[in-house]
């Protein structure tokens, strides 16, 4: 394969981060090609106030920024893959009583694969994204390391754990060493149309933030029926509105009249029951993860900091490599609400070592 190191495909979402990534690549002298992945069509009845990603507005913004920078721009249709690999699985996970992480799923199964395919077919050696993450060449070991973004509050390495050596070799993170403020300033100074655009907060295909409603609509009346809340001894406490609406660790929305505060401890799709417990019972010292991917190989028994959700600061743990693709994570302190379906991602200081999908929490 004859790839041109000067050529870069920049994944442009229509947000400020990827706009600046494209600008920086162009300023660095690359031959830049802007691509927006069209992942999803918002349903026609989606209220306009929830602008979702892949909306016409976002794509128009990306296109206008490409015009401003002076690069060719294309919209690539990847709706089928996104629906099958992300949305269908997202729904299926909730129906199985799990809590999926669609952004990590998308990076793992859709976004990067698609971008690499396009980039290579266009003869480009690199893709660049607007992620807050960095990569670093370890000359001694001759391998890439994936690092957290400079801006701690914006770090997105958690979502990138599935990138391997080959992918890192071909990926650039132009804004990984910057703060959000710096990125906005660059956009403003260059007069980019997206400089003041607010950050996206929600899951791109659930702009309202209500995944329960999304699933109910998506399944067109085939969503799970209401069932029972029970306590740990199996006594019925009340009724729930369908297991797809709940998440482990959640307190609000359970409509259970109890003297003490109760939380969701487990969701059983077979019995359609949701087990409630007091907060203390949500803590577990161990988890099992599958589908584990390593940025670079690690040794059994390594001490790491493990993050069990994006907004989890991370906690010290020992990794036991059970078998290929599967690890047992032994935390030094029990962790609250280990949620099957979420990604667990392993760090050594600033370095992201890899991660996998939480199968179950153990102990307690």
């Amino acid at each position: 394969m004859n790839l041109d190191r000067k050529k870069v495909v920049v994944a442009m979402s229509g947000g400020v981060d990827s706009s600046v990534a494209a600008l920086l690549m162009k300023q660095a002298g690359h031959e830049v090609i802007g691509i927006t992945l069209k992942l999803w069509d918002a349903p026609k009845d989606e209220p306009q106030r929830h602008t979702s990603c892949c909306s016409i507005e976002d794509i128009t913004d990306a296109r206008r920024v490409a015009d401003q920078i002076g690069i060719p721009f294309y919209v690539v249709n990847s709706k089928t893959q996104f629906r099958e690999q992300v949305v269908d699985r997202f729904v299926q996970e909730y129906l199985s009583g799990r809590t999926p992480n669609p952004c990590a799923m998308c990076n793992d199964k859709v976004k990067f694969d698609f971008l690499f395919t396009k980039a290579f077919e266009l003869g480009a050696y690199h893709i660049a994204t607007g992620h807050y993450a960095k990569k670093e060449w370890d000359a001694q070991k001759s391998e890439w390391r994936l690092l957290k973004g400079q801006d701690d509050r914006k770090d997105q390495s958690y979502f990138l754990f599935s990138l391997g050596q080959k992918q890192l070799e071909h990926t650039l993170f132009p804004i990984g060493g910057m703060s959000k403020d710096e990125v906005r300033k660059i956009a403003r100074d260059a007069g980019l149309k997206t400089s003041e655009k607010p950050d996206s907060q929600e899951i791109c295909f659930v702009p309202s933030g209500d995944h329960g409603d999304f699933i109910a609509k998506y399944l067109k009346g085939q969503a799970p029926q209401s069932g029972e809340f029970v306590n740990e001894s199996g006594e019925v406490l009340g009724s729930h509105e369908g297991i797809h609406r709940y998440t482990v660790g959640q307190r609000r929305g359970t409509q259970v009249a109890q003297g003490e505060r109760v939380y969701i401890k487990a969701i059983d799709p077979v019995t359609n029951r949701i087990t409630m417990s007091e907060n203390q019972a949500l803590f577990q010292p161990v988890l099992l993860a599958n589908g584990v991917r390593w940025v670079r190989p690690v040794a059994d028994g390594i001490e790491v900091t493990a993050r069990i959700r994006h907004r989890h600061e991370g906690s010290p743990a020992t990794l036991r490599l059970v078998e290929a693709g599967r690890v047992r994570v032994e935390f030094h302190e029990p962790q609250r609400a280990i949620s099957p379906g979420q990604a667990v991602v392993f760090y050594l200081g600033e370095e992201c070592l890899g991660g996998g999908w939480i199968e179950q929490g153990l102990g307690n």
Binding site: M1, N2, I33, T36, K38, C54, I56, I59, R63, P72, Y74, V75, V76, N77, T80, T117, K118, F120, E121, L122, G123
Partner: protein
């Protein structure tokens, strides 16, 4: 830069651009009584006469519109909106979306619609139209030439069976007018839609031919322009430009046809020789001169388009949705290709302004791009 996407739109002929520019200075409103108005009126009348002469019809049958889409809407809605009771419409599945979406809209108003399929080469026999007829069929719409494959449809036979039953036959001739000999004194077509920018005229202007026997309810209400068929101050520069473009095209029709056919055949032979696994979409025996639709097995058309674009060559793929991303072509799907195959379809469409040198350049660049893409897979 090489422009091989003439079924999307064509470059304006220099003679047309000059006529449009000149007409832009005649700012009078054709409805005004004074000299400025009379001047505008004269130019519009002359333009209508020119177009009528090219198609061999009476000028009263020509209504100026904003283009092909409006002409088709005006014909379909104009026939169906006033009708009550059981109403039936026959369209082919390979019509332009201007027809298909209007048919869907009519369906939502209670019109019964039959969508006629095509075979693997995109062919549709006149017998299939006849077989779909119902006692309450009120319109048949089958295009002259397909925009994606270039296929020609049996317009004469379809028209004859419609005429025999007194059913209006609407022909979308957007890809044919100015590129193909169309003599409406001989063809049994009742309604015909055309668009100027497909024959080297300006954008935003077209016409609808309608025999006076066909009663049309107007779509746009207001002043009495276009004999009450289409309200709104006339697009004078556009109309003058369209007439100029059609006159020009008609005058060199056979010369252009020969040239464009020769270029297309050279392109096809060259591709066949140089690209293993190339296949043709459409009816190779019966198609308009400049269109070549092919697929390179295992190579996405979108990727080819992007690579060609960056090499300065413009072609087209599938159907662009509102975001600009590509959907599989409904025409190729109707021909029985699966989604993946349909997304491999690439359309090259030529015009009189393309040259042999451009075709050779395309044949020089294209095989390298295909190998590069195949190597990346």
């Amino acid at each position: 830069m090489i422009y091989f996407d003439n079924n999307s739109t064509t470059p304006m002929a220099p003679e047309v651009a000059a006529a449009v520019f000149e007409a832009s200075a005649r700012f009078g409103n054709a409805s005004s009584v004074h000299g400025y108005g009379r001047e505008a009126r004269r130019l519009i009348n002359e333009s209508r006469e020119t177009i009528a002469r090219c198609l061999k019809v009476n000028e009263a049958t020509i209504t100026f519109t904003s283009g092909g889409t409006e002409s088709l809407n005006a014909a379909m809605l104009g026939v169906f909106l006033p009708l009550q009771g059981p109403r039936h419409l026959i369209v082919s599945r390979v019509e332009h979306s201007a027809v298909l979406k209007t048919a869907e809209f009519l369906e939502s108003l209670g019109v019964e619609v039959s969508y006629l399929g095509v075979d693997a080469e995109g062919r549709l026999e006149a017998d299939a139209v006849e077989a779909a007829l119902k006692p309450h069929t009120k319109m048949i719409a089958v295009m002259f030439a397909n925009n994606e494959t270039g296929n020609l449809y049996p317009v004469k036979r379809i028209g004859e069976s419609a005429r025999g039953r007194g059913i209006p036959y609407l022909c979308d001739a957007v890809q044919a007018v100015g590129r193909f000999e169309i003599d409406l004194s001989l063809l049994p077509i009742d309604l015909l839609a055309a668009s100027a920018h497909k024959f080297h005229g300006p954008k935003g202007v077209g016409f609808l031919y309608g025999r006076k026997e066909v009663e049309l309810t107007p779509l746009i209400h207001g002043g009495r322009q276009e004999r009450g068929h289409r309200a709104g101050t006339e697009n004078l520069p556009g109309i003058v430009g369209m007439a100029k473009a059609l006159e020009l095209a008609q005058g060199r029709l056979f010369e252009d046809l020969r040239k464009v056919s020769r270029l297309r055949d050279r392109l096809q032979a060259g591709l066949l020789e140089k690209i293993p696994g190339i296949e043709w979409n459409g009816d190779v025996e019966h198609r308009v001169a400049g269109t070549l639709n092919f697929r390179v097995t295992g190579v996405s058309g979108e990727t080819l388009l992007m690579n060609l674009d960056m090499a300065g060559i413009a072609v087209s793929v599938g159907a662009a949705c509102d975001s600009g991303s590509l959907e599989p072509s409904h025409v190729l799907l109707a021909m029985g290709l699966d989604e993946e195959r349909a997304l491999e379809g690439v359309r090259v469409s030529l015009s009189r302004y393309n040259t042999e040198a451009e075709v050779e350049e395309f044949l020089r660049v294209f095989p390298g791009l295909v190998s590069k893409i195949r190597a990346a897979a």
